[in-house]
Subunit: 370 residues, 2 copies
Amino acid sequence: MDRKTLDSQILVQAVAGGRAERHRFEDLHYARLTETVAGHPRGSVVLPDGVVVPGYPAIARIQSLSNGLRQQFQGPFWAEEKIDGFNVRILRHQDRVYAFSRGGFVCAFSTDRLPDFLDPGLFDAEPDLVLCAEIAGPDNPYLEGSPPDIPRDVALFVFDLMRQGRPGFLPHDQKMQLIARHGLPATRTFGRFHPTEGQALRQLILQLDNEGAEGLVLKGEQDPIRAKYVTGGSNITDIGVCSEQLLDLPPAYFINRLTRLALFITEHGQHGDADRERRLGRAFLAGLDRAVAGSLAQGRVDHRYRCRFREYRNAQHFITHLNQTGGHRIRIAPGTPREDNGYWVLEFDRIFDRMTGTLATALDGAIQFD
Amino acid sequence: MDRKTLDSQILVQAVAGGRAERHRFEDLHYARLTETVAGHPRGSVVLPDGVVVPGYPAIARIQSLSNGLRQQFQGPFWAEEKIDGFNVRILRHQDRVYAFSRGGFVCAFSTDRLPDFLDPGLFDAEPDLVLCAEIAGPDNPYLEGSPPDIPRDVALFVFDLMRQGRPGFLPHDQKMQLIARHGLPATRTFGRFHPTEGQALRQLILQLDNEGAEGLVLKGEQDPIRAKYVTGGSNITDIGVCSEQLLDLPPAYFINRLTRLALFITEHGQHGDADRERRLGRAFLAGLDRAVAGSLAQGRVDHRYRCRFREYRNAQHFITHLNQTGGHRIRIAPGTPREDNGYWVLEFDRIFDRMTGTLATALDGAIQFD
């Protein structure tokens, strides 16, 4: 079947119009779309031969399980685990395997680490396959939180398959066959459900909540509809890992999670749970305490990120990317990248400007009008 | 001494320029300043004879007690209780006593209730006196919260005195003499402190926190500087009474209180208090539960306010004001105002539009992208 390509003239116009950007990662010259271009969504990657790797679409959220299933799904759907990590698309181009971020950048960190998780021989059998995967774990350079069952480093979980130049995902059965045949690490699949099976899914989400998991992604078997539904606990976890950035994140980050938590509590009849109340209060206060302590001790509020690379030059690529996108807010930890057990460990701090400034002023005794 | 007046030509220009508005309350024709005019601050009231009642100034906040005292005060200051209510300025004009809101409107509710709290004979002895007072209690038409030691209705607390047409407040000793001479209900005064007496004030604010009080207002004895400093608990109380309006209030309402609470905890070494964590979590969740319950039960999220009037016509004036300022968001409870024990009891609901819409959509099972 023909692979979708983007005409080079259209790409030139898109770049000129600010709807696409050209980038280079070592020998790979590619473009990423920052807006929809010729029907290809934002985040799509244009390879040197013009082949388009589709952007990974945003997944809609339901906040009511029973009503959401009935409203959104006409037929059966598959329930898979939603994992608290970051999304990459993995593909081979001219004998090299790359991982692209949601925005369509080559991710130097993920690209470096792929051999730890995948056998590149996979692409000899399936040269145009695109793996959509979540990378999660405490030692990742993007996110403050990570799943509780990944004690160190990161892990990779495939949850969708695409083909280069082809919109849409492979159907569930083909995906599962390829995952099995090539022994790919994959997200957990909990089975096939009908929109009327709200009770079974309620049991499932409560079990996931107990495990500390993030939630479910529901994928229509026939209809292209997909929806995510998260656990009550994931909202508290998210607040806890980000409350030291309280003034730097958009307020909706916190407001939306509080609202979702309240809807979850209502749906599952969990009102008045003193332990949950304590965990929510602690999620706000523990992070804020860290922020105030940082301000008092070193005059700034920041968060330390750590990740490890197989190759030194990929660590350098990643540092270049950090400095280009994070500017003055990034401080590479002295003495890193340092060699450790065959890897290069990078540590860096991301500084939260508004927390730093606001707390310094308040602790100094300044007045404010509000 | 001459009383400051606003030239009628300047007032005409200010009204034309949108910096002042003319209003009428029964026979009283007055103007309120919506911006500074000829040096008179926003909220100032211009009486029919042109005499200006100064707007009550915003009080600056300190968030660090020790450093704040040293930074802001050069000499001694008085510490008074800050009460969780609304601010009025009370004065007599041509044989009638009126209460003006912070914005400079005649408040029909407060004006109606003044005889319950004050002997109007006060103004025979002091005709140009202006009482600056807080009105607080569970049965007030503006605020969701109220001090724990006012079990019902409202109470009035004088905390500053001014004179009509004179900028500035009466000095502390004159204020206390007039309060004593006329038996005025007043806020608690905790004494005179020096900027070095941080330890004594720390004890005081912890005692107030235990009582469930809102905090302190510190008033320079010589310098005109004033500052407020609130208890840790007041932040949790404020969150608790307003969390059912989570999406309707500016997010800074919640974000600022969380930040202040963390600074209070640090200043007073109260880290890791499980009971406080639980109270904070409950403050968010109890209000949100009420909101979700309201959405499920009646398709809207609202709050019921109750207050009572001595005179039926004042209740009607207040309803007119509510409808003019609150529009479709106000629903007067059927059957009110109703007579009860010599008063007219008014009940009304204020509807929270965004909570109502967002929860209805979410509970119905709709998807959203975020």
